[in-house]
Amino acid sequence: MTRESLNGKLISVRDLHVEFRGRHFTARALEGVGYDVGTGETVCLVGESGCGKTVSALSILGLLPSPPAFVTGGEILFKGEDLLPKDEGEFQAVRGNQISMIFQEPMTSLNPVFTIGDQIKEAILAHEEISDRELEARCVSLLKDVGIPSPKDRMRDYPHQLSGGQRQRAMIAMALACNPDLIIADEPTTALDVTVQVQILKLFQKIQKERALSILYITHDLGVVAQIADRIFVMYAGIIAEQGSAREIFHSPRHPYTMGLLASLPARTRRGQRLYSVPGAVPDPSNKPPGCPFHPRCNFTQESCARNFPGVCDWGDGHLARCPVLYKNPELIP
């Protein structure tokens, strides 16, 4: 189910550099990361834990704790305006209002001492003037939209009284409360059962269709990506390794890391064989290898990989990959 990517991106992260400074080390979490999401589009940011996907998302909303995090370069254009120079007050107008974020652990992301109704109403009241009756009605309709049964009763429940799936739905309702243009979902289904996961994904697709919003979906699960992505950005150790439409990435990956990820998916055709896994481990952000950060684990590595930081190679149609080796020697591609 591919959609055409629309021109005129809603949000565009460009050349973002973020570092974390500790007393004895500096971790370069993001080194020139760039991605964008168009109106009505679903973009997936894929990568293993520690590659920097959450850091980039948090920096969109100015939620990085600083210290120890510092933005050292780049810009984030939202509706034409750079978000990075905004101060706390200006960010508050954007958060929840134009851009909403949903987090990974619904168990701990909701305040345990307030009812979910209160928390959703709070999200609305932060940005709009609205009467009590309207507030109540809107809250109920939001909960209905996200598929929570008996919303009037559930509103008065506390988070610990709901199941994991319901809590995540409540978080989604909270995120939708002010009709944002963009929703950033940071691994929203990772902590949930697989069956619940499917339901939540369907919910995302439904609300996107109904409200024509854009979704930036962060995950490490390629199965999820296959279901909902229009375009994919693959991240590794603080850089974007490859980007392109979902079809292109799945059928013709052009970066060794992407190939490794896809190869490690259990596929029915390779039944009975050992699962492939990319050898080695993700590098410590404060201690990355010189040149291409992936080269120690790469099957196609050459001498130049250890010396030169890989530049962006254009494969056409919006498909870009940071692997000059494969670009110059396409016969190596399996």
Partner: protein
Amino acid sequence: MLSFMGRSVVQKIVTLFFVSVLSFLIIHLAPGEPSQADPLNPKFTPEMVERFRKAFHLDKPLHIQYLYFYKNLFTGNLASWKDNQPVLPKIWERFLNSLPLFIVGTLITWTLSFPVGIRSAIRRGGAYDRTTTFLSYLLISIPGFFFAYILIILVVNSLHVPVIGMETFGMSGASFIRMIMDRVWHLLLPSVLAATGGIAILSRYVRSQMLEVEGQDYVRTARAKGLPAEQVHYKHALRNALLPFVTMFGLILPGLIGGSVIIESIFSWPGMGRMAYEAILARDYPIILTVNFISAVLVLAGTFVSDVLYMVVDPRIRL
């Protein structure tokens, strides 16, 4: 909820029983005799000693003594060995003296600790935080009596106000306002002294609780919703951080007795702490045991109140 409370009360009564037995044993098994019953004491003739022993059942076996003691306690017949006055009214009188000290001290402690601790947490590492941290360490480490004397010297030399005792001699004839002021001056120093130690400890605890809560996911969610900073800190974070303190509130109760022997000694304040101290010196067993018993009751009652408050305040706990 009621069944839990019922079970809890029963458990506490059992604990109380063991406390009473244990304290009784400790007192009576210690070597030495109360002065009035000591055959070696030259002030009392042997007949007086014998009469004393009979009157207070000291010749009977321990468990009989135990029963007599508690029977007397609960019927209000218990008499002090020093002056044969009934114990409970004596304790009550001293308790009323200790009460203002306790109330003012606790009030100062609790009202100041929270703003200090919260502000330290929100601006962690800043100048305010570092100063209050330093002061806290200092106040925790200074011996109470030393600090008391420093304060006394300072206050007496610079402000020339009387500080010892509850009121100045001969004040009863003066006007009402002057009497009140006099009382206030006398109350001030010991309460401040009692409070400073408490503030040092409590504010640190408030700070660490606040810091821990600020690191929680739901605080991040609150910020991500676009809530203004005050709402994030004072509504979302604080409400959770305060939970353990509501329970601590119940535990202030035992402080009534804990009082401070030292502070009351220095300021010659005729309170419960001093009474306990004098009773220990004179081996006045009834008073010692009664104070101990009351203290145990307060501790258990305080714990009970804490548990109930916790259930009320935290929606996750509904038994």
